[in-house]
């Protein structure tokens, strides 16, 4: 019986050892298990993303959700991205700082929001009289844009990626028709960013008003005009009811939003998750462009049907020419004292000149033939 006892001890010991080895061997596969049995054990990488937009904000917010859903599905649940809207983090324009600090691994915003901190960032959203979306995507991915964006954002400890295009934005809602440059003098308008600086030069009194107060401000005459996005997002704001002149755009021909990723956190991800995340961001951006195009088309049709009093106008040629001149002066001025600004401006200017030649003989010529 003594022999038997020692055999039992040996047996139990071996059993424990084998079980332990078994678990260890399986444990090494824990990061990406597919089997149902293993699912409960696996370690999920959970990231947090801060977005500029509020909860339920359409199109922009949907692009973020789509990106996160793709990451989760493609990684088979290995990686999850949880989204905090501005209602929660209370820092709509603090996304760059929060991602840089690692408080959030990711962000979703627009690069031109940081132009006060670094003027070179504004080129990666859109520029007055700049490229249209297909030209700009060609510049980003094949014309050196991504490399220039990396150079700028390396200084801020984050990687930046295209985050969704609104398409050409409308020039805004005006209570009165704009016929001459004199009509712009003293006009109170909400128009943020570089375009605001351009209009300031032409005598417009540029103000910034929080989105939630825009309708009331326009209705009460606190402002005479405002720009928001375009039919895709304007219809819901109700501006068409109080400012019947809807002008075509000049200032944001291809507004691209932005995904931001903390560099140290990204670099620490396994390679396949880096790839999954990069692909998901890029596709979510392109998809938002298609979605915006669709929503703009649908909502424009609604405006035409339900609000026949809305008049779509294009600024007269002398006004466009004055805006262009003011824009070029401001750009030249800024480029003179900022090498990074100049480098990106030169790249975009040269690329647009080349790409526009193609646009003119392809889509533009085609549309012209079909309209005349």
């Amino acid at each position: 019986m003594k022999q038997m006892k020692s055999f039992l001890k040996l047996f139990t010991g071996l059993l424990v050892l084998i079980t332990f080895l078994g678990l260890t061997a399986c444990g090494e596969q824990k990061q990406a298990p597919t089997a149902e049995v293993a699912k409960v054990e696996k370690e999920v990488i959970v990231w947090k993303l801060a977005q500029t937009w509020g909860t339920g904000f359409p199109i922009f917010g949907d692009a973020v959700i789509k990106m996160a859903d793709m990451v989760k599905a493609m990684s088979n649940g290995e990686m999850e991205i949880r989204i905090d809207s501005s209602n929660k983090h209370k820092a709509a324009f603090g996304i760059l700082d929060m991602v840089n600090a690692g408080q959030y691994e990711m962000g979703h915003s627009a690069s031109y929001y940081w132009k006060g901190k670094d003027a070179s960032t504004m080129f990666f959203t859109t520029m007055p009289f700049g490229m249209i979306a297909p030209e700009q995507y060609a510049w980003f991915y094949y014309g050196g844009g991504m490399e220039l964006m990396k150079k700028v954002y390396d200084k801020h400890g984050v990687y930046s990626f295209p985050g969704g295009n609104t398409g050409n934005q409308m020039g805004g809602w005006f209570r009165k028709e704009i016929n001459t440059l004199d009509d712009l003098k003293g006009l109170k308008m909400r128009i943020p960013g570089f375009a605001g600086e351009v209009l300031s030069k032409l005598g417009v009194v540029v103000t910034n008003i929080p989105p939630g107060e825009l309708y009331t401000a326009l209705d009460r005459g606190t402002i005479d005009a405002l720009e928001w996005v375009g039919p895709s997002l304007d219809l819901n704001m109700g501006f068409q009811k109080i400012a019947p002149y809807y002008y075509t755009g000049w200032h944001e021909p291809a507004t691209e939003l932005q995904f931001l990723v903390n560099q140290a956190k990204f670099d620490a991800l396994p390679k396949h998750l880096q790839e999954i995340l990069t692909v998901a961001m890029e596709l979510a951006a392109y998809d938002m462009y298609a979605r915006s195009y669709h929503e703009s088309a649908v909502n424009l049709a609604s405006i035409e049907k339900d609000f026949p009093e809305v008049k779509i106008r294009t600024f007269p040629a002398p006004i466009i020419a004055a805006m262009k001149k003011a824009n070029e002066e401001l750009l030249t001025e800024a480029a003179a004292s900022d090498a990074s600004f100049k480098e990106i401006l030169d790249s975009q200017t040269a690329y647009m000149k080349m790409a526009r030649q193609w646009t003119v003989i392809s889509d533009y010529a085609y549309l012209k033939d079909n309209l005349e």
Copy 2:
């Protein structure tokens, strides 16, 4: 000793059983291991893709390579797609049949190549006087296009996905200027597809010639004109040296290539690989559009610099009007006897009408302001 022997037997038996269970438990995780140790053991899902294009065909072939690279990287090597070009499978226009039969899991081609087998397939590439790329992507993903494409391709046992856009194609290279409808009568032109039928109605003698013989045919006067793609792929063919009139497009405003996937094979993939594959195809398609835009812009600049004798022309308005009329008559005729054809035509026509309104007040108005 007898007791000890039976204990040994029991012990050995249990050891075998435990080892077996251990292997089984681990084996269930084999499909997606990340640990280095496990890598040697994992089963790689290897698929084969047949493409219409020859080995090394630029842009189109690169989009396929990009898609396959993304699948491999995102799946961490769990799935690989090997590409056979037409040099190997010798059936450039047999892709649909081969994927349907399961001879290849995937294909890359263009939907209008099967219009002889099923006329409804041609709508998913591009249509004369149809949508431009941003309109068409909006239709595919948000305007019901994907659902209609699925309905058509379900009959052929495959799933079909957008596979890359060339952008607006040029109307072709002509040895002589085209000024009146009479200039088209008897003109020998290589122009395939529905556009060829349209030009036939206007008296053009439409021929099809293999790509490798096009230059010689044009040089020797076997044909008077031909269309290929646009600057992105035309420059390399050398047509600019022998046919100096380069006409803007009307017949393929947004040529979208196509990924085909055998339905049974796709359905048998694990869910996360289905997602990876779907996302990779969609992004490769969008990326090819940006790449095509870039290559078109770069090559157009080369043509303008190195071949100043090339004259870019737009067909005169009466010719465009006659083409449009012939196109509409052919479409109406085909729709009368084919419910599927009619359903897709109606969808595209209605969507284009709506989306074009937006195009006109967004990119078109913006470009017009900038050019005048």
